[in-house]
Each structure stands twice: as C-alpha cells, then as structure tokens.
C-alpha cells in the first residue's frame, strides 16, 4: 500500500509542485448524487417489502377491558321504541340475560377429540362386528355399501355411548362438528373457548410476559361477586329450572390440564386453604348456603410431558367420583340397595384409573376426621366449610380436561391401537358421568368436546381439516332438544344461510359459516384424496364454529355473554324454550347475542381509529343488524295486536324469520372478522417476500457492478427502463387484482397495495435485469474462460467467499427450528469461529506454501494468521457474557451479564473491570495507529489520547456509581448506615445528580470534543523534520529512507541535510475514519451497562483487528503477478456482520422483548421523556449493530494512503467501490431478515410462532434498518467527508508546504 515512488516530486521544488497539485485537486468534487439516489431506491424498496409483509403477517387485535354485566342488557335503548322496551326491559335489570337452563353443568374436555372419533358409523360397526348396539343410526342414513371396503381404524366407533344415548334419548343429546380456528393449539383454543374471540398475532393490550387472560370470559363471570340476590319470587316466576338466576358466584371445580391455571390463575385459585383458615366464621350451616357459595376446587396436572398418557386422565377420573357420587360418610343414610349401587359405582370409577397408586392420594382416600361428629369422613378436597357432602351436592360447574387422547396422538399417532384403549376409557367415563347425571334430581348438562383434532401423524397446531374438526356432544337429563324445537331451529339456520348467500359479502365467507351442516368426510379414509369415490357414504352432521360454545354456555348457565364474544348461540339449545319472558327462547337468545356483538363492534371501532374494518364490512354489519331489529319491532307489533292467540303458526313463522336474521348477522360478523383476524393474507406475504428478495438480489448485483461502473453511470443507464417497467407492472398488477381467483386470495390487500407492490416489483426486476445484462465494459465472468473459472474456484479467495456465503445461508436457515432460534447466540459464535478458522487456514496455507519466495507475502500472511487467532480468542471471551432466554435456562444457560445469575443490577467488581476498558481501548487504537505512525498527529494525541479517555472514564465511573447505588439499595442495613454517615435523606439523590452530570459530561466530551475535533481536522497527519542520524551526517544526500510500515518520506529542498517525513501518510484515510468511529463508540459506550461496555470495547477492538486482518490477507493472497480479480469483500462483510450479532448478544441482549434493558432509558436524564428515553434504549439495544455498520467503510479505507491514485483519477469509481461494500453489508442483514420472515410465514401456524418466530422477525426489521441506514449514512457523510478532505489537502508536497508556511 505504499505510495508509488514519484520521481517528479523528489527533485522538483516543493512549493511550485504543491500549488500545481492544489489547482488540480481542488475542483475535483466527489460525485454523491448516484450514491444517494441508489440508497434511496434500496431503502424504499426494502421498507415497502417489509411493510407489505408485516401487514399480511402480523395480525393485530385490540383487547378491550370491558366486561358484560349481569344486570345490564346489551340492547341499545335509544334505538328501541317503547313497545320493545316494555316487552323486554321491564325485568331485565332484575332477571339478567337469560334464565339458567340447567342447574349444573359438566364440561368434559377430551383433548384432541376429532369428529371421527366421536361419530358413529353403522357400516364400520358391521365390520367391527360389535353387536351390542341396535341398528338405528341417529346421525345419518343407514347405508350398507359393501362393495367398497374401507379400513377400520383403531379410533373408529370407540365411543359407542354417544351413539347409544343418542338413539335412546334423541331429545336430550346432540353431536356436532366443532370447527376450531387455527392455530389449533390447546392454549389458543382455551382462550377462544372461554372468551369467544378469534386468535390474532398480537393481542395488543395484553402484557407480553404473563399469559393470564384479561378479556371478559365466562369463568370470570362465574367468579364475579353477586350483583343482586335471587329471591323466591323469581324462582316461582320463571319455572322449575330457574332457582339460579345469575346473581351469585358459582361453585367451581376444575380438574386436569394445567394450561388452565396459567390462563386463569385467579379464577381457578383453590379456595380450600382459605376456608379452613377462616375459623372465626361459624361452622358450616347447612341452611345458609350463601356463605359457602363461590368455593373453587382446582387440581391441575402437568400437561407438557406428551409421553405420559395417563397421569392427567387418571387425576381427573380419580377425583370426579368425589363430586358425582355421594361420599362414603353418607352411605349410612341410604338404604342398602342404594348404598350397594354407590359402592359398585365407586369401584367402577376406581377401575378406570390406570395408575392405581394415584388412588392413594389424600384427595381421594378420605380420612376420618378427629372431630366429635364421628362419622365425618374427610378428604383433602374438603375443607371445614365445604365438607364431602357439600362437595357432592353443591358444585355448579365442573371443568374436567383430560389429555390422554392428545398425548396418545403425539406419542403413537392415531393409527396405533393404544388410542382405542384410551377412547374406550373415555367412553366408560362418559357412561359413568351420564349415569350419575341421570341419578341426580337437579337438571344437569354435560358438554363433551375436543378443543381441536389431530392430523394423520397425531399432531396438531395447523389448519388442516383433520386438525380443526373437533367434536362436541351435549347431553342433559332434561329434554332440551324437542322435536318441534329442532325443526324450528333447522328452519332458522336454513333461512339464515339463504340470507348470507344473498349478501354481497357473504359469498366470500367460509363454507362452514354459510351453512350449518357438513358432510362427515372424515370417516372415509381417502379424505380429500378422491372425493368422488368415497369408500363410505359421508353422513350429514350439524356443524358449528367452536366459539359458539361460549355464548351457549353463558346463557344456559344464566350468565351474561362475555363482552368480546363473537360466536352465536347453538340454536337447538334454545329453540325448545317456548316462552322466556314473553318471547320465544331462541329469539331472545339470538337477540341478546346479536346486541352483545354489535355493542362489541361499536366499542371496538370507537376505541381505535385504525381498527382495520373495511367500510363495506361496517355497512354490511349495520344493515344486517338494522334489518333484524326492524323485523323484531314488526314482530312485537304483531304480537301486541293479537296477543290472545300468539301461538299462531304465522307468528311462529315470523319469529323464525327474525331469528334467522339475527343468526345471519352473527355469522356475517364472525365470517368477516375471521378473515381479518384469523387469516393471514398470503398475497401480501408473498408480494412482500418477493420485494425483499429482489432487493437482496439488487444489492448483490450492485456490489458486483460497482467494481467496474460508477454509480452515476448505473443510474443513468437504468432509470428510464426502471420507471417505465415499474409503471407497466403497477398497471398489470392492478388489473390482475381484479381477476376473481387472485382476488379471493387477498384478504387485506387493497388496490393501492397492489399498485405499489406492482410498481416496486417491476422497478426492481428491471433494475436487476439491467444490472445483469451485458454491459459495455466486459466483466470478469464474461471474459474468463471456463478453465480460469475452475482454477479460480480453488483459489483461497473463492474458498473464503464461499465459506462466507455458506455462513450467511446457515445463519438465515437457523430460523427453520425453534431450538436454533433460541440458541442463535451459540450459532452465531459457531459460524463466526468456523469462518475465522477458514481464514486462518487460508492464511496458513500461504505461510506454509513452499513455492512462494516473496517474503512480504509471508510476513502479511503471518500477521493475518495472528490477527485471526486474536479475533477467535476475543470471540470466545465475548461469549462469556450472556443473558439467557427463558427457553435456554433448562439447558444449563447461566446468565453472566450482571455478574451473578440472579441479579439484574451489575455487581461492583464488573463495573470496576469496566474501568480497565478506559485504558485498554485508547491503548489498542494508538497501537494500531502506531503502525502507520498516525499516532503522533494532533487529533490522535488530543482526542484518542485524552478526550476519549476522559469520556470513557466518566461513563465507566457513572456505571460504578450506579452499581454501588444498586448494591446499597439492595442491602437492608445500608440506608441507615448512609443516613448516619451523611446526615440526611438526600444521600442517593446526591449520587444520582452526580451520575447525571457524569453521563452528560461523557456525552458532551464525546460529541463536543471528539466530533468537533474530527470535523475540524480528521487526518492523523504530521510532518516531522527528521532529526535522524542521517540529518546529523551531512555527507549523506537526502534520500528516501525505506519506510518500515506505511510512511512516506520526501526530500525538502530548502534544507538538504534534513528529511521531511509525513507521518501517517500510508493509512491517512483509514486513520481519519477510525477517529470518527471512536467518536461514535464513545457515545454508544455511555449507554452500555458495565458488562456491555466491556463487550462493546472488545467489539470495537475486534472490528479494527478485522480491518487489519483482511488488509493483510489481501496482501498475502495476491499472487505475484498482481492479478487479483476477486475481492474478499463478501468474506469481510460476513465476518463483520457476525461480529455485530455476537456483539448484540454479548451486550446483554436476546431477540426477545423481555431482554431489552429498559433501565438504561434513564442514563443521564431525570424524568421520563418518551422520545429521548426511547432513543437511549434503541442506542443501547442496537449499539453493536450501529458500531459495526459505522465501521463498514473501513473495509475500503483502511490502509489507503493519502496519495491514492485510484481516488484522484476516478473518484466516482472509488465511491462506487465503497458503496458496493455497504451494499454487501446491507445484503447480509437483509438475508437474515428474509430468512426470519420466510420461516415466520412458513411456521405461521406453529406452536411457537407467537413466542419465537414472530418476535425474531420483528427484531430483524430494526436490525436490518440500522444496518442499511447507518452504513449508508456512514458512507455518505463520514467517508465522503474524509475523502473530500483528503482530496482538498492535495498531495504530500502541498502538505509539507503548508506545514512549512505555517512554521516559517
């Protein structure tokens, strides 16, 4: 890199020559227009791509905090006229929403109960040769088609009790296909089954850490304190069932999957302990039931061990008899026959439990209480106030959630015989539950359902038909589904589907929203493979969306429908209620439901301006609701007119019509919202990804072209074609968007989006094509013969760059697995070390090569190897600092960032270690500068020698004080101690004032001192008159001493004995730029916690070493003939990018929201200021990426001497070269972004998408933007400024002349 000897300058007088150079170099302005234009294009293209992708991918929904109240009906009173209000509202505030249909309810969830597990097939039964059931099929026609054979799976017909009961009591049972919304994971399903909401990506408003449900749900409603008491008149007025009217807390029993506990920690907290503590209350008074109202019994069991098929089920089944069967202590009150039957039943239950040791748990084995009342047997479930008898008699709702079937699917798959055992066990359990219900005098409902299905392999989470089609079976000991009611309900639903099909919006809704029936195709094994020739005739089944369960359960329990619910009531459950508060039961239920949904929509749209509902949808909802309300008013008029004969068929028909309109409204809302909230937009995702990938290609091509073409030339060649093709593609896309088929795939994409996307895609395609196609100047690939190419493939350059490409691809492929995404820190380290190992090996191979006689190359190779090894060791040191993701903790990850695993405030030793950096960083920088003698310049001496040290020292001191404060605050005795010492309560405020001053001064020194010093004179140049021994010997002619490193000497004519030496000539540009980097570094250093400060310092050292390493490597790998066509830029940029990622992890971050160091927001400021605090946190979080992006131009500028001929002859080409480096760096960041985006979209229905893939993608956007923007700005401002100044300084002669003029 030494300047080529300039013969002319050696002899000619300095003054004259210098001025000549001045005139030549001054007017040479660096052309920056092309650079900025291209930067703008790339920035726009990538941000539009990311924006489109995020719109299609990151579905958001606001969580409303409102709750439905039992005493407030959802009708809007303003719209209703007097007649309506007189009809309905008179008793509303007293009687709640809907009188409870059942006294008690059992919700029995069999996880992953697919519809074909529950559905009965006569035909398969004939094959199975099970003869215990009669031949009538209550579900579908009896078809015997023996020509076709179908495989009988181990899960077919394993729940015969459902079928036999349906046949026996058709008015008490019903089987539904229970269609779940994806993602079909248990947690998401439970949320939907309790709140009635659709899952979205970001439930805005919920806290990210906790998983407890904040939205209104029916568990909350049950646990809410009573608004008013029910009195006897209500009971008398509203029939035999209505002894509960929604005004008291329900007694709740929960057994099973512990996911419920994380969702409802407060609602399901066991009240057992609490009651036994309340000894001051009088002992259980059997008459005063209101005192014992509202108890809860929860027995959660671990859900995560999918290999354990039995524990949860056994836990549930062993405890259920405590509630369903009378306790042992009561057996003496019954006659012998009863007692015997109870005993046999208890034995039956006990036989169901697989792990018999489960039965010895104190919950089940009742102990004789040592109380005076001798016969009082008590189990751990019972408490002082709620004894075993109360447990049996008083429960209102039992939620039992068994996981055995699901785990069996995960473990063995649905085709394994184990599943038939599991289902048979469930069959028995249902049988016993039904038996106990039948024996109970209270009306009891049983809901048996699966929260989701399972796919062919037994897994779930996605949106395939087998995963979403669960089963729901309802049973009650009272008739709730009379023949007439069922017929009326069917008419309502048929009418409603007809209404929806006639609506404009309705045609795009899902099939299962539009019709309420479904052909059970799952029983045929060739599902979806060959629908034309099914082996079994598909049976017709009722089909409901899963969230319909919420409003149905709420109303049938006499509770208000949860505020956010979107489901509709199941018509059959209410159609048989002839007269509820003066109207048909189904009509009242549907009207309540519709009014509640309308209230929710109104609240939602008024709460946020960016609700995202389209105007079409809003209008359609409003129209449909108004239509239904108008019809309702007409109906009430009609009833009012002929009140005597209200059972007229005409009125019934009218009632059905109105109910159908409400039902259609509810279905319409659910269908449109499902598209908006539960459906990703594949069109947006795809176009967004296309644009990002095109941008990556464009960046890479830009790098390749910029080695031979100036940016201005690229712009002038491409812009016309780009603009025209952009406009053309925009028009084409817009036209395509109106094609029906494509239009169907677009959920949220608007026409504007398509035009923009089309324009950008057309533009980028044309740009890439223009860059790809043949240019005037031949490029490397076109001129080279194949042989040369192959030869080049084996060259170290290709090896290095190839490894770099592989590392980039492997890094972006890390998002294929959640485990890899968890341990991205280890993967980045691994890739970085591997890449550096290859660098070392290639350097070593030069060193070991026998056929290279060039000593200079060997020296360079030796240094390159040394630097590479140094970076490897430093990387290992950086790996020491970790902050663990919660997923890494079980794997033995120990967080060391704060000094100790449990602390969140840095210990004092670490912050004192941080003080060492104050010495180390300037020392290393000066040592590096010393190699080119740049360290003796004024800027280096003043800023790096003094200013940087002061700034860093103050920042480090700030953190020392911070950790002292932190450790003092945590110590309990210290406040007293401090107060005694300084005699005042203001001790820590004094400290904090000092800290604020320190932080601000550190910043002031960095920005005021460092930046202004750099702006004033960036170059680390100094001219020394060599008072060397040569000077003292007059006999020696002025000679050019061979510079040891990068040093240029020039003779001075004025004093022949002396030699003017320009110090720092060889690395003039690199050193000048390095000064700028240190200024940025000292700003970032302030905002890093002690360990982060250490690691950021190490990162800076590594980045400088990396610049040196690749410079030497280039020297070492350049062949003797000097023809090195391929550059090492890809390898260098990959190493730098990986260093940035490692720096990010080492400075105490992970790609999770919880690892953001919010405490740094208050460095140097007193009170919260949103933008400043946010900016500081961003500087803290993205510090490593910022620092690395700033260092990008160093890859070109390092060790470039002041007399750079390339720059002087073709400045535009030189700018293009730097811009190309920036393009490669941005391309790396964009590749990682593309990787995270692609796999986030790919795994959009994955179990972990909310926790892993989506946050990673969201983090990759600011990381990429930082990389792109900062590297471009660094090139555009800082590097340009250095180059411009370099050109203005002119030549060595001018410099020397200037110096002499100054001195003389």
């Amino acid at each position: 890199m030494a300047l080529p000897a300039n013969k002319e300058t050696a002899a000619a007088p300095v003054q004259g020559n210098g001025s000549a150079y001045d005139t030549r170099s001054k007017p040479l302005l660096l052309p920056a227009r092309g650079f900025w234009l291209l930067s703008f294009v790339m920035l726009c293209a990538s941000s539009i791509g990311l924006w489109l992708f995020s719109r299609g991918f990151l579905l958001t929904r606001m969580v409303l905090p409102d709750h439905s109240s039992a005493s407030v009906l959802p009708y809007s009173h303003s719209s209703g006229d007097v007649a309506v209000s007189s009809l309905t509202d008179a008793s509303a505030s007293v009687h709640g929403w809907y009188p409870a249909k059942f006294d008690r309810t059992i919700v029995f969830i069999i996880d992953a109960l697919r519809i074909d597990f529950a559905a009965w097939s006569e035909e398969l039964d004939a094959k199975l040769n099970i003869k215990e059931h009669p031949a009538t099929d209550g579900l579908g026609g009896t078809r015997h088609d023996h020509r076709h054979t179908s495989r009988i799976m181990p899960y077919h017909n394993r729940l015969p009790v459902l079928h036999s009961l349906s046949a026996k009591f058709p008015e008490q049972t019903m089987l539904y296909r229970f269609r779940a919304d994806p993602p079909t994971t248990t947690l998401q399903r439970l949320k939907a089954l309790t709140t009635g909401q659709l899952p979205t990506f970001i439930d805005a408003g919920s806290n990210f850490a906790g998983s407890a449900i904040e939205e209104d749900n029916w568990l909350q409603a049950m646990r809410r304190p009573s608004m008013h008491n029910c009195n006897a008149t209500d009971t008398a007025k509203y029939g035999k069932n209505s002894n509960s009217c929604g005004g008291f807390k329900r007694n709740l029993v929960f057994l099973g999957d512990d996911t419920w506990m994380s969702l409802f920690p407060s609602e399901l907290s066991d009240t057992c302990a609490l009651e036994s503590d309340a000894t001051h209350l009088e002992p259980a008074d059997s008459l005063d039931r209101s005192n014992t109202r509202g108890w809860t019994r929860s027995r959660p069991f671990p859900s995560l061990n999918v290999w354990d098929l039995d524990t949860v089920d056994d836990g549930v089944l062993s405890r259920l008899p405590l509630f369903l069967l009378p306790p042992e202590s009561e057996e003496h009150t019954m006659d012998d026959r009863q007692a015997d039957s109870v005993r046999t039943k208890r034995q039956d239950w006990r036989r169901l439990v697989k792990q018999q040791e489960m039965l010895s748990h104190p919950d089940i084995v009742s102990t004789r209480q040592n109380s005076p009342s001798s016969n009082n047997l008590k189990s751990a479930m019972a408490s002082d106030r709620v004894g075993p008898l109360e447990l049996h008699r008083e429960w209102d709702v039992i939620i039992a959630h068994g996981l055995g079937v699901d785990h069996c699917g995960h473990r063995f798959g649905p085709d394994h015989p184990t599943i038939s055992q599991k289902l048979s066990q469930m069959n028995k359990a249902i049988e016993y539950i039904v038996d106990s219900i039948d024996n109970s005098e209270k009306s009891t409902a049983l809901f048996v359902f699966g929260d989701h299905g399972m796919d062919l392999k037994g897994d779930h989470g996605g949106d395939s038909p087998r995963e979403v089609d669960a089963a729901l079976w309802i049973y009650s000991n009272k008739k709730w589904n009379t023949k007439k009611g069922a017929e009326r309900a069917a008419r309502v639903m048929e009418h409603a589907s007809a209404i929806i099909d006639n609506l404009a919006l309705g045609s795009s809704l899902d099939q299962d929203i539009r019709t309420s029936w479904w052909l059970n195709t799952h029983l045929t094994d060739d599902y979806s493979s060959n629908p034309n020739t099914p082996t079994l005739k598909p049976t017709r089944l009722r089909s409901i969306p899963q969230i319909d369960f919420v409003s149905t359960l709420s109303l049938s329990l006499g509770l208000p429908i949860p505020f956010n619910n979107l489901g509709a009531v199941i018509p059959e459950l209410f159609a048989s209620d002839g007269d509820v508060q003066g109207e048909w039961g189904l009509l009242r239920a549907l009207r309540l439901n519709a009014a509640q949904v309308m209230r929710y929509l109104a609240t939602y749209t008024s709460k946020s301006h960016t609700h995202g509902f389209s105007n079409d949808a809003l209008h359609a909802w409003k129209d449909m609701y108004d239509r239904a309300e108008t019809s309702y008013r007409e109906l009430s008029d009609l009833i009012g007119q002929n009140s005597r004969n209200r059972r007229q068929p005409r009125i019934e028909e009218f009632e059905e019509k109105v109910a159908a309109e409400y039902h259609a409204f509810l279905r319409l809302v659910l269908g449109t919202l499902r598209q908006m909230w539960a459906q990703f937009d594949p069109a947006l995702i795809f176009t967004g990804l296309c644009i990002i990938i095109l941008t990556v290609i464009a960046l890479v091509l830009l790098h390749i072209r910029s080695q031979h073409l100036a940016l201005e030339e690229i712009v002038s060649r491409t812009w016309k074609v780009c603009f025209t093709s952009g406009i053309a593609a925009g028009i084409v896309f817009r036209a395509l968007a109106s094609v029906q088929y494509i239009n169907n795939t677009m959920v949220q994409m608007t026409l504007t989006d398509t035009s923009i996307a089309g324009y950008v895609i057309g533009f980028m395609l044309a740009f890439c094509a223009q860059l790809l196609c043949k240019q005037d100047k031949p490029n490397a690939l076109q001129t080279k013969s194949l042989n040369m190419c192959i030869l080049q493939m084996t060259s170290p350059h290709m090896l290095l760059n190839g490894t770099a490409y592989a590392a980039a691809i492997l890094h972006s492929l890390a998002f294929t697995s959640n485990s890899f995404t968890f341990s991205e820190d280890a993967i980045v380290h691994y890739l970085l070390q591997s890449l550096l190992l290859v660098v070392t090996i290639s350097g070593w191979s030069v060193l070991a090569a026998s056929n290279i006689p060039n000593a200079k190359r060997k020296e360079a190779a030796k240094r390159a190897v040394a630097y590479a090894l140094a970076i490897i060791v430093l990387n290992r040191i950086s790996l020491y600092s970790t902050v663990c993701r919660e997923e890494q903790l079980p794997g033995g990850c120990v967080p060391t960032f704060y000094g100790s695993p449990s602390a969140s405030i840095t210990g004092i030793p670490l912050s004192i270690a941080n003080l060492a950096m104050v010495w180390l960083v300037p020392y290393v920088i000066l040592r590096v500068l010393q190699q080119s003698q740049s360290h003796r310049a004024l800027v280096a001496k003043l800023w790096i020698g003094v200013g940087l040290r002061i700034s860093m020292a103050m920042a480090a001191l700030y953190w020392v004080l911070d950790s002292i404060d932190g450790s003092l605050a945590s110590g309990e005795a210290s406040p007293k101690h401090l107060a005694g010492q300084t005699a005042g309560a203001k001790t820590d405020s004094d400290w904090s004032e000092l800290r604020i001053v320190l932080a601000r001064m550190a910043l002031g020194v960095a920005l005021g001192g460092g930046l202004s010093a750099w702006l004033a004179s960036p170059f680390c140049l100094d001219v020394a008159i060599a008072d060397t021994p040569q000077a003292s010997q007059p006999t020696l002619t002025p000679k050019r001493t061979q510079s040891k490193a990068k040093q240029q000497q020039l003779s001075s004519v004025s004093a022949p004995k002396q030699t003017a030496v320009i110090l720092g000539y060889g690395n003039a540009f690199g050193a000048a730029y390095l000064v700028f980097v240190t200024v940025v570094f000292s700003v970032l250093y302030v905002f890093q916690q002690p360990m982060g400060g250490i690691m950021l310092s190490i990162l800076l050292i590594k980045l400088i070493l990396c610049a040196e390493l690749f410079d030497f490597l280039r020297d070492a790998l350049t062949a003797e003939d000097g023809t090195s066509t391929s550059s090492l830029v890809p390898a260098q940029m990959t190493v730098m990018s990986l260093l940035a990622y490692q720096g990010y992890f080492a400075t105490g971050h992970q790609f999770t929201l919880v690892s953001i160091q919010w405490s740094t927001a208050f460095v140097g400021i007193r009170e919260m200021q949103l933008y400043i605090c946010g900016g500081i946190v961003a500087l803290n979080t993205l510090g490593a990426f910022l620092l690395t992006a700033i260092c990008v131009p160093l890859a070109v500028l390092w060790n470039e001497s002041l007399g750079l001929q390339k720059l002087r002859l073709a400045p535009d080409m030189y700018i293009a070269k730097i811009a190309g480096v920036g393009a490669v760096y941005s391309a790396y960041q964009l590749i990682i972004t593309v990787g995270s985006a692609v796999f986030a979209a790919w795994f959009r229905r994955h179990l972990m998408v909310w926790k892993v893939f989506a946050p990673r993608f969201m983090f990759s956007m600011p990381v990429f933007m930082t990389g792109l923007v900062v590297s471009l700005v660094a090139i555009g401002f800082a590097a340009m400024r250095v180059l411009r100044q370099g050109l203005a300084v002119g030549n060595a002669q001018a410099l020397v002349a200037q110096k002499f003029n100054l001195r003389n």
Binding site: T794, S817, N818, S819, F820, F822, S823, A826, I827, H829, Y830, Q833, S834, L837, T840, I841, W844, S845, A848, A849, S850, I872, V873, N875, R876, L879, Y880, E887, G891
Partner: protein, 275 residues
C-alpha cells in the same frame, strides 16, 4: 488444522527429507501392485466397533461419559500402539530391515505417537473451548472428547506422514496433487474433522435426548466421520489406484495385441477346420 501446525513446529524434519520424499511418494503412486498394507483398515473398523461397546450398566456413556470415553480412547490407543510397535501401520512393506528394528526404537516410536496425540488432543480441546465448550465445568468431558477426536483424526496422520513437513502441508493445507500416504492422511483428518464440526448441529436441538449432552454428539460425529473416512480412504487409496492400474495394464495388453497379432489366434480356427 491446529494439530498440523503443532507438528510442523515440533517435529522439524531433517533438511534433506522434503523433496526426496515427495518424489518417492509420487513414484509409489505409479507402482503396481500397491505396497499398501490394508490390514489396518480392517483393524480400524474392528477397533471402532470394540471401542463403541453398547452402553450397559457398568459402562454407560449417558451415565458417565468420561469413563466411557476413556475406555474408547484406550482401546483406540492400544490399537495404534500395537500397529506402531509392530511397525505395520499404513504403507509398510514387511521387509527385513524393518523386522530387525531394535526394541528401543519401537518403544520410542510408540511414545512419540502417544506424545504427539496428546499434544493434538490439547490443541483440539483448545479448539473446542474456542468454539464455545464450557470453560468453568466439564473439563474432563472436554478433554476426553478431544483425546478421542485426536486419536480418530490426527493419529493416523501422525503415523502415516511422520515428520515429513512437506507431506503434512500437502495433505492438510493444499489442493495440490498428493501421494497415496498423503491422501490417506488427508482423508482421515478432513473427514473426521468435518463430521465432528457438523455434529455440533445436534447440540442446541431441544429434543431432550440423552445423547445430546455435551461431548456425546461431537464424539459420535468423530466416530462416524472416522468410519466414513475408512470407506473413503479404502476407495481412494486402494480400489481406485488398483482399478486404474488394472485398466492401464489391460490397455497396454490391448495395444500390444492390436499391434502384433497373436500368433496363436489363428490356431483354434485351424483346429476347428480340422474337425
């Protein structure tokens, strides 16, 4: 790589050996039949199998990896020691001179092999740590894993290439044409090292399998790589050269036959005619 460096620095070869050895090695290439001694391929497979005994109660890699790995290491070391002592490792023709090698020299060569392997193991352990192996804990695991990897990857190189630094460089650091011993060494070293490197894939996966504990995937990768390299080396150093030599021989015969027709070729016809 690291070990290669070590040996280049440690074992300075006599000045004269470089060029001559190259020529001799290249000359070996053309000889037919090969002077390679294939017994160690067979034995290496056996040693691998013996060292990888199935985990059982007393010797369970999951329960006590250090103990298990020390057993495998000693089996491998014993195998190498026997071969070194008998001086029958790769490409040795049993000639009288070698048979009459004094006992002390044999012991010295075994000790040298052991020492070099230990140094290589230390370098590989350092490499493990640099790649992220735990520092504060599990020292024994790391060292044992490194010893196993060294025995599988580096010891064949040590035994094959001895102190010939030129061969080391050609085998491990360059793409130049190699002699058969160099191919042998390169095959073992690079296959085993690459597989060891790639086996780190399994470390972060959350499968929760017992074999995902720290040194097990790495050592498993090394054993797998060693087996692959056995096949690879057998193909590259034995089968291919033999096939090539066979082919050349047959070509030569063909050329001879076409040039000067065989005198006996007409003879059978004549007999036929006679009949």
């Amino acid at each position: 790589m690291g070990s290669a460096k070590q040996h280049q620095q440690q074992d300075k070869p006599p000045a004269s050996s470089g060029g001559r050895a190259d020529g001799a090695a290249l000359a070996d290439h053309k000889k037919y039949p090969l002077e390679a001694n294939g017994i160690e391929l067979m034995l290496a497979g056996m040693a691998n199998a013996m060292s990888l005994v199935t985990p059982r109660k007393g010797l369970n890699i999951y329960a006590n990896p250090v103990k298990y790995l020390s057993v495998t290491a000693s089996v491998l070391f014993g195998y190498y020691a026997i071969l070194t002592f008998a001086d029958i490792y790769c490409f040795k023709v049993t000639d009288a001179r070698r048979r009459s090698k004094p006992l002390a020299a044999r012991v010295r060569s075994v000790l040298g092999m052991a020492l070099a392997t230990l140094v290589a193991a230390a370098v590989i352990a350092l490499g493990f740590v640099l790649f992220g192996a735990p520092v504060g804990s599990q020292h024994a695991e790391t060292l044992m894993a490194a010893l196993n990897v060294a025995l599988l990857a580096v010891t064949p190189v040590i035994l094959t290439l001895k102190r010939d630094i030129g061969s080391w460089r050609r085998a491990l650091l360059s793409v130049e044409a190699k002699s058969i011993p160099e191919k042998w060494a390169a095959g073992f070293f690079w296959c085993t090292m690459t597989t060891t490197w790639a086996a780190a894939y399994f470390v972060p996966m959350d499968w929760g399998r017992p074999w995902q504990r720290w040194p097990i995937p790495i050592v498993g990768g090394a054993f797998l790589g060693n087996l692959i390299s056995l096949l690879f080396v057998a193909l590259r150093c034995f089968v291919l050269p033999m096939a090539r030599a066979d082919f050349q021989e047959s070509e030569r015969i063909k050329v001879q036959m076409t040039r000067e027709p065989h005198p006996g070729s007409a003879h059978p016809n004549a007999v036929k005619k006679d009949q």
